[in-house]
Symmetry: C2
Subunit: 207 residues, 2 copies
Amino acid sequence: MIFSSSLLENAVNQFAKLPGIGKKTALRLVLHLIKQDASEVANFSEALSLMKEEIKFCSRCHNISDADLCNICSNQSRKQEILCVVENIRDVIAIESTQQFNGVYHVLGGIISPLDGIGPDQLTIDSLLKRIENENITEIIFALNANIQGDTTIYYIGKKLKAFSVKITTIARGIAFGGELEYADEMTLAKSISNRIPVENYINAGN
Amino acid sequence: MIFSSSLLENAVNQFAKLPGIGKKTALRLVLHLIKQDASEVANFSEALSLMKEEIKFCSRCHNISDADLCNICSNQSRKQEILCVVENIRDVIAIESTQQFNGVYHVLGGIISPLDGIGPDQLTIDSLLKRIENENITEIIFALNANIQGDTTIYYIGKKLKAFSVKITTIARGIAFGGELEYADEMTLAKSISNRIPVENYINAGN
């Protein structure tokens, strides 16, 4: 791409570094911003630099936070004894958006995946074990992706947790809402049968 | 989407204002930036604000420019007497990228489209006519999109240009390279037949 302005080129190249954004999309975004009010673009630019400079990670659960403790950990109306273990911040946002969970989180910062070179030491597992030792936690819910890496991580951490008297659960795997049986893969269908639940629990779920 | 950090939320909302970027994509982009070096993000933020503050439009051709005249207009090795009329800056970049055009441009800033409320007065047509009066232009090439709006614009400007002794052409409409005849629409195929060219011209084109 040949540009008549180095300022334009520079802005396009910055956008094109973002994942999933090619040069043409980057150009479209930059030309959109050029048409906006100066204050709009200044806000955008400021939001970016503020975010990078000021953002912290919660010292307890490793979630993104504005302060030392994130607003989930510091919210005393949430059940601090129920802890949901997730892979990353995106999963926290996804679960929070359901408004069905009123406990706290622990963000692992990844998932055990030897093929990608990620071992247990790179995750916040030690910090999780310390929390279970020091806090009064009664239940740990694993909310990890339903794949080999997720299951490996559950297995690894589950073994470490045997030393503690804490209830360990995982979110249900089964047929997704709106999913059709005949198109479900065998693994999912098999799990959904072996982990079947009483209909009264199903009807009352979420209440 | 429920965020645990207002800095994060603010950055995501800024990205989500961009065309074609939803909340989930915005979150992915912001989380990517959080993982980058602080200097990377500072560069991004600076490129954005510099672009908006410093960018100019060429006083002659209305292209985006770093100075009063863009580097195409001020390049004396280009043929200043051949003028290519385009709808917007994106089209300038597209044509420049072919490296087949060595003249200069005139950016209309839009196309006549009564349905969208865009009339001739909102475009840089007056400025184009002044250039033809004052500069020594011998050929005007219309490089507009091949649709009703493009044809209307060519017709409107073409009528105004009758007063001047200048050669007026339009880029060829026909079967796109790699296109198959049987899938071409009738309009394109009809135009490609009525505007057929001698094979020797075709073979020598671009030389």
